[in-house]
């Protein structure tokens, strides 16, 4: 199978697809013309702006904005009732229950020890995962930016896992890590001993970090690669004319000019790592015990999966997460803004 053949095949296929899509598009849009023309007769050209905004705003208000406000109400009320009218107001009880700890570093001294275990796990996870993610994606981007044979192929290889669904990612690795899996077979054949990778707390934690880095690294490498390619080539040419050593070029040109992109990558990966849930939930289920239970899983289980649905507690926890995410996002917006203006 040559490259050209597949390329051509995909072109004709996408051409057919595009034509079918175009016909459907025209039919739909033309059908919508009379009603919108009738509305325009009533509200005028200026008024149409509101008509165009309306569907988005309605969906947005109902499913995003309203829940944001309701979340605060949930956090301030108790009981396991879902309907807001049936929930008694309890003030800050949920927060004080969550934050009731003699020693924040000792999970067992906390009233909500599961929450704090999840917080501890998440903090450790975020620290390890983001460090590994940024370091590996940076190295990958730098290598892919060099003069390479088959660069497109290697770029695709590193990017490929990004497209996989979290469930698929988890199952791929579960199959490798299980008791009689590939990794244990390799270990045994090289003289090692069988390891219960997903039943040992530390191993299990290691694999949650490893698998999530595996799954998302290509995404960040791609962003960094774009950042590297945006660095003007004449800077490198000038440095070469001056005979500047390679390492100096790296520290004086590449690093400073890549820094804004790198910061964006750090913060994006922080935001994602705080919300880590899907892959880990399917891979380890938070186990063994609560060794790999992170904060979003705590929220999900407290609100929906446990016998008693402690919605107030979960809402309070999610508000705390929201504050963390908000700070991180503001940081990111600030950095991207500065990067664009400078």
């Amino acid at each position: 199978m040559t490259h050209q053949a597949t390329d051509q095949g995909s072109r004709t296929l996408s051409a057919h697809f595009a034509r079918g899509f175009g016909l459907a598009y025209t039919a739909l849009m033309r059908a919508l013309e009379p009603p919108f023309a009738a509305i325009q007769k009533r509200v005028g050209i200026k008024g149409m702006a509101y008509v165009f905004v309306a569907p988005n705003m309605i969906i947005f208000s109902v499913f995003v904005a309203l829940p944001m406000i309701l979340n605060i109400w949930y956090a301030l009320t108790g009981s396991n009732r879902l309907m807001i009218g049936e929930r008694p107001f309890v003030g800050l009880d949920n927060f004080s229950a969550l934050l009731d700890c003699k020693d924040y570093l000792d999970v067992n001294s906390c009233k909500q020890d599961r929450f704090w275990r999840a917080v501890h796990n998440s903090v450790l996870f975020v620290a390890l995962q983001v460090t590994a993610m940024v370091a590996l994606s940076l190295v990958t981007a730098l290598i892919l930016n060099g003069k390479l044979r088959a660069r497109g192929f290697f770029r695709a290889v590193f990017f490929f896992p990004v497209l996989l669904s979290p469930v698929v990612v988890a199952l791929i690795w579960k199959w490798i890590l299980q008791r009689d899996g590939l990794l244990n077979a390799l270990l045994l054949s090289s003289g090692g001993e069988r390891v219960a990778f997903l039943h040992d707390a530390s191993w299990s934690f290691f694999w949650t970090v490893f698998v999530s880095v595996w799954a998302h690294m290509g995404f960040y490498a791609l962003i960094l690669l774009a950042g590297l390619q945006a660095i003007p080539a004449d800077l490198y040419e000038a440095a070469e004319m001056d005979g500047t050593p390679k390492w100096r070029v790296f520290w004086r040109i590449t690093v400073p000019l890549l820094l804004p992109t790198l910061l964006v990558v750090v913060i994006l990966s922080l935001i994602r790592a705080v919300q880590a849930f899907d892959e880990i939930y399917v891979l380890t289920g938070g186990g063994p015990g609560t060794a790999t239970q992170f904060i979003v899983q705590y929220i999900y289980e407290t609100a929906f999966a446990n016998q008693v649905h402690l919605l107030g507690l979960a809402a309070a926890a999610s508000l705390l997460v929201a504050v963390v995410l908000m700070v991180l996002t503001l940081l990111q917006l600030r950095i991207s803004y500065h990067g664009k203006t400078s």
Binding site: A49, V53, P55, V62, I69, P166, W175, F219, V282, Y300
Partner: protein, 350 residues
């Protein structure tokens, strides 16, 4: 220092330098680590149930040869049994009694069984591809249903996402009206509110609308995505206003301006959002997990995740189902690789 040199190398060199070895070494490990696991999944998914239980596993779907005899529903495993004259014959294992096996000759099923010690016989291995792994889940686990649900959610969501967000972006970029900037800031401010933070109230809204266990409950909430509006608005700002004015002079309605002029010109941005929408929805897990609790409304991801709990011993089905979930994404990726990678690189979306 040599590491940095390896990383910053931009020039082609005639001879393979130590830095080249480092580079290609890294890439080789990368290929094995990134591609290997999926390849292993693909190879394993073609193995029979008994071949999957073999340890250590083989890469190719090798399995023990089995022979079906007329009066038995199950296939009998075939072994090489020494026949006393220094040779071995292929016989089927009928029954095991402790360390002794009773073997029958497939050619003469009615003859008396041959007794042999189990540690003296060798299993006969051959390439056995278990296509049944793929066919069976469709019949037994309503896998087709999950596939249909996932397709429905993905297609409807993407069409609605493109429609609703492009209409909004059109108004925000091409009209000046009261409250426009406030609306834009309002939408942008929720960039920092992922669904995982508003699970409970979002579930209340969906419940109040009677949409639990309905695919619409999965489809509707994430349609108005702030990233989508932002992306499309920024792009539409670059479309010259003169085009719109000219169309209005010709008597085109606003709707016509939108679908005849704005949409075709915003195609690159729409393509990026469309590809991402497909990826988001096909792979979505947490929100469907909360909204859908009845099996007939499960999406592929939910069905798979549920089965991995229930079918822990049935890896042969699970692996094949995983492959079937993975396949559409791989196909889309190979068709649209350039759009996806440039889309991500230029927008930072995922």
């Amino acid at each position: 220092m040599s590491l940095i040199r390896a990383l910053t190398r931009t020039r082609d060199q005639r001879a393979m330098h130590i830095t080249d070895w480092l580079t290609y070494g890294f890439l080789l490990v990368g290929v094995v680590l990134m591609f290997g696991p999926a390849l292993w999944l693909a190879a394993s998914s073609l193995k029979t149930k008994s071949a999957l239980q073999e340890f250590p596993p083989s890469f190719l779907p090798m399995g023990q040869k089995e022979i079906k005899l007329a009066d038995k529903p199950d296939g009998l495993p075939v072994y090489l049994v020494p026949n006393g004259a220094g040779q071995s014959v292929e016989l089927a294992l009928q029954r095991r009694i402790g360390l002794i096996g009773l073997f029958i000759d497939p050619a003469k099923p009615d003859a008396d069984p041959v007794r042999a010690k189990m540690d003296e016989v060798k299993p006969v291995r051959e390439l056995t591809v278990a296509w049944d792994n793929y066919a069976e889940p469709l019949r037994r686990f309503r896998f087709d249903r999950f596939l249909g649900n996932s397709l429905f959610v993905t297609i409807v969501s993407t069409v609605l996402t493109l429609l609703v967000n492009s209409m909004c972006a059109f108004a925000l970029s091409k009209y000046s009206f009261r409250g426009r900037d406030a609306m834009f800031v309002f939408i942008l401010s929720t960039l920092m509110v992922p669904i995982s933070v508003i699970l409970i109230p979002a579930f209340l809204v969906v419940t109040s609308l009677g949409l639990t266990n309905s695919l619409w409950g999965v489809i509707l909430p994430p349609i108005a995505t702030p990233t989508g509006v932002f992306l499309l608005r920024q792009y539409m700002l670059t479309i010259p206003d003169e085009l719109i004015d000219a169309a209005r002079m010709d008597g085109a309605s606003e709707w016509r301006v939108y679908w005849r002029i704005i949409m075709p010109l915003a195609m690159p941005a729409l393509a990026v959002l469309g590809i991402f929408s497909v990826m988001w929805r096909w792979n979505d897990f947490l929100w469907p997990l909360i909204v859908l609790s009845r099996e007939e409304s499960f999406t592929l991801q939910l069905g798979l995740a549920t089965f991995q709990g229930e079918l822990d011993t049935q890896w042969h089905y699970l692996l094949a189902m995983t492959m079937m979930t993975l396949a559409p994404v791989v196909i889309v990726f190979t068709l649209l690789q350039r759009h996806i990678t440039t889309g991500i690189a230029s927008t930072g979306l995922k």
